[in-house]
Symmetry: C2
Subunit: 197 residues, 2 copies
Amino acid sequence: MSALLEQLIDALRVLPGVGQKSAQRMAYHVLERGREGGARLATALAEAVEKIGHCQRCRDFSETPVCPTCSSAARDAQTLCVVETPADRLAIEQATGYRGFYFLLQGRLSPLDGIGPHELGLDLLGTRLAEGEVRELIIATNPTVEGEATAHYLAQIARQHAVRPSRPAHGLPLGGELEYVDRGTLSHAFGSRSEVS
Amino acid sequence: MSALLEQLIDALRVLPGVGQKSAQRMAYHVLERGREGGARLATALAEAVEKIGHCQRCRDFSETPVCPTCSSAARDAQTLCVVETPADRLAIEQATGYRGFYFLLQGRLSPLDGIGPHELGLDLLGTRLAEGEVRELIIATNPTVEGEATAHYLAQIARQHAVRPSRPAHGLPLGGELEYVDRGTLSHAFGSRSEVS
Ligand SMILES: [Zn+2]
Ligand SMILES: [Zn+2]
């Protein structure tokens, strides 16, 4: 096999979920039917890897020191929403009317994987809360064991800075049928029931 | 979202089987945990797209006009094995003792998709057979409807040049359990049964 082709197949495996077989299929596909797209991808990758860093305020990916969102004067500076990933941030921004600021953990507490408060930028978050502008910290970590542990830790930090911690409600998804809802959600929703007026 | 990040997510979709969601996951992964690998992939892609062409003899991917296999003096010039893809070639080379030459169609006859004899390089194959060295053309297209139609067409070309066409045997896979073999294979194997001596 061509050495350059072997090198390409090997390099493609940096992508998540791509093993030997799919790397091979991807390489053949690009060479056979997508050379132009392949060249475009090469440029986009090189540029992204070189120029995209993290926003100094929210830790989201950004090609400028402070991202456009954090630079916006139109946002409510009293609420800060903590999420795990850029995908979570995007989902909230697109689905809700939330227009405060964000803070991205880029992960969740996972001591076994060496991910502690420092890796999640919690020192930066502390500094941010110490500025005194934020009144409410919306903790939107995922409802997983590690996400919950992270949320607990974040609530403590908030209280240390006299900031009110809050969490989005958990419960039955709207329009979902009860029998298809997972047990944990159902149990939580049942336990958190409220009186119908 | 960062414009460069958006550009990267968009460019990743040139890869087969990669939609918006997985392109996003790939981009985040590279930026978060694989920048070095990402830079290596960018280089490998750019080089491959620019420098890998097709071997003039066998049509396999090659960074030289004639690939190492076709340049080899140690191979048997009397047999030529036709396969659809580089992956098929690799599988045969690794699994069998075959040490003749190869010819790659890089596809199979599919008139509806505009893939005819010319797209499969069959004029080049004709020229090759006309040289007179090849005695046997092993037709190793896939046992699909289009692969069979292609095989039929290839056998005609072989006969036109007084070359003997042959096909690898089809039948039950070794070690496979009969009840799990697909119907087509089972039916073929049954119809091609031979007397036990
Ligand atoms: Zn920011
Ligand atoms: Zn060749």
